[in-house]
């Protein structure tokens, strides 16, 4: 079975581009899940069936069935909650586990009963049909806990389990009570999907148990399957299970997913730029949670247009940028493809804009819920014409905050669109974030010019950054027109002059290249190493770091450098590469970053380690590869 990865974090807020020492991403040895519901909800059966299945495929297990103390406790009350906890995994399962990574709560009382024992960032599956006013009041909640902030730190999957259960089996002639009784199988089906476990064993169980009651047998089997299908259809995503750090920097922490962190990073950036935030977007997995998060924060001034498509999403953002807002658009691969032409417009008009691509498996619709890093070259080159822009990537769930902030800073201070690449793995994954208060963040200085200047021309630029100024409608005396046609380098009027076009093409490129003067130098880990340099980028940081770290502890001659600034690259990149005998570029695609490096620094030889299974790297596989290369050198 596939276990999820977790992140062990020694979070230190370091300057951008620095490697976080001590941050480890390890393959989780085991997982704890808990089924909880009313005594009549069949939680024990669900739990034991899951146990059977998971034992059958060779996992170690420890279980803890947890019945209500009163046999006939009133329905829907905390006292009536029945639970079944299962700890399972490859090794290290010595107890039923402390707190669940996944909680299945069939009613508000089950949720209430387990509130004290939830791991931050854990996944909670709830039956939303049971969250009526009288239900949550009976369970002792003041208001609907799903509607306030109680569970903002968890991955809550709300599923109308009771009603879906019934709809699927109405034709079998069962009474209402018997139909409702099947809902535990719906929940079990969902859990099987989450952990990629087979349904056969459970189906066999029903075939044997209800031989004489074919309708009941069919109802249970069908419900199991429909729960499984439902989880697949809604693309239920588990957060990466987080193992809390052994040692951490002092400070206040919270758990955060990458998409939430990105959303908050944008809120913070807009505040630090003293501007309103504008999001124009269209829903797409796995990026939609940025929209879900930002839409909760209209109080903070964010303006959101959920547009008719991705084109309108980015176009409305470009319009908002023209009019003076901090404009962003969020999407994933297919939506990125649709935004292409409009990104070119932002390049041409030199407007600030951040485009977030939470990458998923491609091409086409591909693997919507799986992770990949295969949109890198699309980000770098996927436009008509010479169309350079800034490409950044985030490394971990929590640092999506920093990179959203940095992307916005660059866009505003350098007047350019910026593409921020994250990926499903970190967008939905969670880790502890050392909270950054707004006063700890630097101010952002947009290139705004908000009063009359008789000498100003729309495409005037400074020599330091080659960036133009941002003069927005409403500014008296500064009326001007911009657009996608080539512009005269001085006046900003439409120009078809051949020399002017050559100059403008070069200027747009130079503007992006110059950003290298305003970003930190690239760091690497392993100062004494000379043999093998492992190169990574984006959200595979934790796993790569962990693998290299293990080998360094063993005294191996290996170093690691991880890129967040993709275009432009940090100025000392070649200097670092020159120190090593071999360079291995590891990425979840067929070698897109490696190819890019070949084009940038052809003097080096780049070897590749690639994976395109829609899954993150495994530490074990990486270490094998590194060792192989290190040993080959010794032979």
């Amino acid at each position: 079975m596939t276990l999820k990865f977790g992140i062990q974090n020694n979070y230190k807020p370091l300057p951008f581009g620095e490697i976080r020492e001590g941050l480890m991403k390890t393959e989780l040895e085991s997982v704890v899940i808990k089924f909880a519901g009313d005594s009549g909800d069949g939680m024990q059966l669900a739990g034991s069936l899951f146990t059977e299945t998971t034992a059958n495929i060779g996992n170690q297990i420890a279980t803890f069935p947890d019945f209500p103390s009163e046999i006939r406790a009133p329905q829907g009350t905390v006292a009536g909650v029945s639970g079944y906890q299962i700890h399972f995994g490859k090794s290290g399962v010595h107890s039923p586990g402390d707190a669940p990574d996944v909680l299945i709560a069939m009613n508000p009382a089950a949720l209430q009963a387990n509130l004290h024992n939830l791991k931050p960032a854990s996944t909670i599956i709830i039956d939303s049909d049971t969250f009526k006013k009288k239900d949550f009041e009976k369970a002792g909640f003041d208001g609907n806990p799903l509607e306030d902030n109680t569970f903002s730190d968890y991955k809550v999957i709300e599923a109308p389990i009771t009603s879906l259960t019934k709809t699927n089996i109405t034709d079998l002639g069962l009474d209402n009570k018997s139909m409702v009784r099947c809902k535990n199988m719906f929940a079990l089906g969902m859990v099987y999907w989450l952990f990629n476990e087979p349904l056969e064993k459970t189906i066999n169980f029903f075939d044997n148990k209800f031989k004489k009651l074919p309708a009941v047998c069919e109802a249970n089997k069908r419900t199991l399957q429909s729960g499984h299908n439902y989880a697949e259809t809604i693309e239920a995503l588990t957060s990466s299970f987080t193992v809390l750090p052994a040692k951490k920097q002092p400070g206040t922490y919270r758990n955060i997913t990458g998409n939430q962190a990105a959303a908050w990073g944008f809120l913070a950036a807009a505040e630090k730029a003293k501007k309103d935030l504008f999001l124009g977007t269209y829903p797409i997995t796995p990026a939609t949670d940025i929209l879900h998060e930002l839409t909760k924060h209209k109080w903070a001034g964010v303006k959101i247009v959920q547009a008719e498509d991705e084109i309108a999403g980015i176009c409305s953002a470009i319009g908002a940028s023209f009019a003076g807002d901090v404009a962003i658009t969020t999407t994933s691969g297919p939506g990125m493809a649709l935004k292409t032409e409009a990104i070119g417009l932002a390049v041409m008009t030199e407007l600030p804009l951040v485009i977030v691509n939470v990458q998923r498996g491609g091409p086409s619709t591909g693997l919507p819920t799986k992770t990949e890093q295969s949109d890198l070259q699309q980000a770098l080159y996927g436009r008509n014409g010479e169309s350079p822009l800034v490409v950044l990537s985030a490394s971990t769930p929590a640092d999506c905050f920093d990179w959203a902030f940095e992307a916005t800073r660059i866009a505003l201070e350098h007047m350019t669109p910026v593409i921020l690449l994250t990926e499903s793995y970190i967008g939905n994954g969670a880790e502890p974030w050392k909270i950054k208060l707004t006063e700890e963040l630097p101010d952002i200085h947009p290139r705004t010019l908000d009063s009359y200047d008789e000498n100003w021309k729309p495409y005037d630029r400074d020599t330091e950054k080659l960036a133009r100024q941002w003069v927005v409608p409403g500014t008296k005396g500064m009326e001007h027109r911009i657009g996608g046609l080539e512009k005269d380098e001085c006046t900003g009027c439409v120009s078809h002059n051949p020399q002017n076009h050559a100059i403008m093409v070069a200027t747009r490129q130079n503007k992006i290249d110059k950003i290298a003067d305003f970003i930190p130098l690239q760091k690497y880990k392993g100062k004494d190493a000379t043999k093998l340099l492992v190169v990574g980028w984006g959200g595979q940081f934790g796993i790569l770091f962990g693998a290299v770290n293990d080998l360094q502890k063993e005294g191996k001659n290996i170093a690691f450098t991880h890129f967040n600034y993709i275009n432009p690259l940090p100025k000392n990149t070649a200097e670092i590469f020159a120190k090593f005998d071999r360079i291995l570029v590891c990425e979840l695609n067929n070698g897109q970053f490696a190819d890019y490096l070949r084009a940038q620094f052809p003097q080096f030889t780049y070897e590749q380690f690639n994976k395109v299974e829609g899954l993150p790297f495994k530490i074990k596989d990486l270490k094998n590869k590194f060792n192989e290369m290190l040993e080959a050198g010794n032979a």
Binding site: R254, W299, A312, C315, S316, G319, P473, G474, G484, L485
Partner: protein, 341 residues
Amino acid sequence: MEEATLECPLKPKDFASDQEVKWCPGCGDYAVLNAVKRALAELNIKKEDATFVSGIGCSSRFPYYVDTYGFHTIHGRAAAIATGVKVANPNLSVWVASGDGDSLAIGGNHFIHAIRRNINMNLILFNNEIYGLTKGQYSPTSERGKVTKSSPHGTVEDPFNPAELALGAQGSFYARVPDTDVKLMTSVMVEAEKHQGLSLVEVLQNCVIFNDKVHAAITGKETKLDNQLILEHGQPMLFGAEKNKGLRLNGLDLEVVTIGENNITEADILIHDETLVNPTLHFMLSRMQLPEFPIAMGVIRNVNKNVYDQALHQQRADEKTNSKFASLNDLFLSGNTFKVV
């Protein structure tokens, strides 16, 4: 005398930019430019407060010629970009200039959704029933059988009537004007700007080069009085050289009648009410075709409806009042946090 601190009201010519207008001589787009400049002056709009957004096409060159803020964008996307402009700064007077290809072919999706959302802006649809800029291909408004460069054997598709699309998308304001009547166009532009919500103004525009005289039967000097019904709110729907023809309802259909014939008096003629919430009559008026009917001109529909940008900003304001968070720090520190010492 005191130094004059008051600004003189702007005149239409003050809205002319320094750019040379490059439309073909005789192009109907010039008339629209004139009407818009007059309307801006009449409305007393400050230059800095107006923004013109366009897509791509001959007509989409429009923003370059108006001395306000302007954004010449990409083909079909003007309505979407203007949506962002308006939401970002609702104080701006936002105008979209777009061709029949721009708004009804490549940008059809944005067109209907901008109308549906009822964003407070004015969309001028330059309907020349042809792709001008790309030199004469048929468009979604070209009549069936139209012979063009891309349809040498005649088209095999029926056109859109922009009014039907707009009303079907629950449009709150629709007007139609010929490019030959700058006075009417000016007054319609003024009404469009005053209307809260999306105002669609369809201009029957002549392309002298690729579709000359396409609207001639409607706009020609000899025929226009008989072939145009210029609607005025609260006035009887009368037309014709002698103003003696009018419309009345016959069952569920409109009918052209002549005053003085068959005992018809002015009392039998329908009175135009642009504010009717039920769009049925507005649909019927906008669907009228030659030769049986005159073409309806002027403001056909003008009703009050929720305005997207206003509602969006109201929601932000309400959330600000009701939020338990006063700052981002409140948000960051809310919920489950843990301290490491």
